[in-house]
């Protein structure tokens, strides 16, 4: 083997690409406006009571991490952007269900073993990139969990929006204060997943950015082909070099 030839494959259907970027925008709007709403009462304890599980009662989010300008403005954005967010999410989930892409995202048999192998590789405990298909086990885990966390944030959000008319929903979550708490934690989990995702795309597989824009992916540049860890073996040449001794 001399040099790896480009193996361009069609990776993402246009519906997946459009919903991915629409979701990114809607999520930023929802999180920014949500944090501005949170700042109007940065805590969870009902008046005259305490709340067990929040050590930062009263601490506000930095203004420039928020969106909406003021409470009313943020509420308008939040209650408007929630519709594209939910509808877009349903289109995405409906599509991957009908089109079969869900199979690439559902953890397979041996998921824990595969995820551990991947973590070992990233931590330099193992030397070779584990074999993977479209996504490695850690990615599968993250992409699989994300819609569930998003669903939690939507359902808790509805419970906060209509604490009386849909009071049964809030009651399922332990009441209004707890629904706000779960809503906040779900948002925090979405931030962790999204920021982790963006960092890993840039640090491990920037070529996948092209796949999410044009749909096409050069499989000869995959992290597996490059034996890529975060920030290591980013360039294709290094992968070619690594293969050179085999000649």
């Amino acid at each position: 083997m001399t040099e790896s030839q480009p193996q361009v494959v069609h990776r993402h259907h246009w519906i997946v690409r459009v919903t991915h970027w629409a979701n990114a925008i809607a999520l930023v709007l929802m999180i920014g406006s949500g944090l501005r709403i949170y700042n109007a009462f940065p805590g969870f304890a009902p008046r005259g009571e305490s709340f067990c599980c929040w050590p930062w009662e009263g601490s506000m989010i930095a203004d420039n991490l928020t969106f909406g300008g003021w409470l009313g403005g943020a509420r308008h954005w939040h209650f408007a952007a929630m519709w594209p967010l939910v509808m877009n999410g349903l289109v995405y989930l409906g599509f991957i269900w009908l089109h079969g892409e869900w199979r690439d995202l559902v953890p397979r048999r041996g998921f824990v073993r595969d995820a551990l192998a991947m973590a070992k590789f990233y931590l330099w405990i193992a030397g070779e990139h584990p074999r993977q298909g479209k996504h490695n086990a850690l990615q599968r885990g993250a992409y699989f969990v994300m819609p569930y966390v998003a669903a939690v944030s939507v359902v808790t959000g509805i419970a906060i929006w209509k604490p009386v008319q849909l009071g049964w929903l809030g009651a399922l979550m332990g009441g209004y204060a707890w629904a706000r708490y779960w809503h906040f934690l779900a948002m925090a989990a979405l931030i962790v997943l999204s920021v982790g995702h963006v960092i890993m795309v840039l640090a491990v597989d920037p070529y996948s950015l092209r796949a999410m824009l044009t749909g096409r992916y050069n499989a000869s540049l995959s992290p597996e082909a490059r034996n890529a860890r975060p920030l290591v073996n980013l360039l294709p040449r290094r992968a070619a070099k690594a293969e050179a001794p085999d000649e």
Binding site: G72, L166, R237
Partner: protein, 252 residues
């Protein structure tokens, strides 16, 4: 095409970035730049019609969701907030009804009614009373539990003979020009009261004495304090916070 350069990978098959690629990259940068620049701002002004549209649709949905049978319940073991119940007024000084200049306080019930009424506090307290322990939902996100005692607005509507065509109710106050208008359905919910006592005590000036509107079905700002009149109307007429950009419906 050689694959040696990183450029080939970044720009696709080694082809130089085409017009489409450039447009994609440029629009991506514009969107993310716009989002960054929008931080802590109200967002682009051009989005206002979309936000207004969403608010109208949300209001339709919320009015569709509204049920007279949906009752706010206080979670078991929740204590009344008591003095920890926040309060505010828009006048510089805490509004207090001055009998010397204004005469005896009486609640006016008017507008599209058969019989306009003036109900003194004594008469109000003689009407069928309701005591309920309910949460108060503030637009800011906090809640406070209170046990309030008063008369259902529906009772007042019946007594005055409010016209069926009066789809809206305006609650006005003597706190400067504070008022908020409601849809009639919410105003006639079982838990929407004209309240004159809180936690077993007559309403103090801090909480809107001598009488205020209180309903868990509406956000706090819709619940006019320092109440002077209940006006039945064919059209809505906004409200103090509504005119300052908060949504008119403000339902829970």
């Amino acid at each position: 095409m050689s694959d040696r350069g990183g450029r080939g990978a970044a720009c696709g098959d080694g082809r130089p970035m085409g017009r489409r690629g450039f447009l994609r990259t440029a629009s991506g940068l514009l969107v993310s730049g716009g989002l960054l620049a929008a931080c802590d701002s109200e967002g682009p002004r051009s989005a206002q019609p979309l936000l207004d549209f969403a608010e109208r649709q949300n209001e339709r949905l919320e009015r569709g969701l509204f049920r007279h049978t949906s009752m706010a319940r206080v979670p078991g073991g929740a204590r009344a907030a008591g003095d920890a119940f926040p309060s505010y007024h828009i006048a510089d000084e805490e509004p207090e009804w001055d009998v010397a200049t204004n005469g005896t306080w009486a609640l006016a019930v008017g507008g599209l009614v058969r019989t306009p009424l003036r109900i003194t506090l004594e008469a109000l307290m003689a009407m069928p009373r309701v005591t309920q322990r309910v949460p108060h939902y503030c637009v800011e996100g906090w809640t406070a539990v209170a046990e309030v005692t008063g008369v259902r607005v529906r009772e007042l509507a019946t007594l005055a003979g409010a016209h069926p065509q009066a789809g809206y109710v305006d609650f006005t106050s003597f706190d400067e020009g504070y008022h908020e208008s409601w849809d009639r359905e919410s105003a006639e919910h079982d838990q929407t009261l004209v309240v004159y006592a809180k936690d077993g005590q007559p309403l103090s000036p801090k909480y809107g004495a001598p009488a205020r509107v209180h309903s868990p079905t509406r956000l706090g700002y819709k619940n006019t304090k320092y109440l002077t009149s209940v006006m039945f109307m064919a059209d809505r007429n906004g409200g103090y916070w509504t005119d300052r950009g908060y949504e008119w419906y403000g339902g829970t």
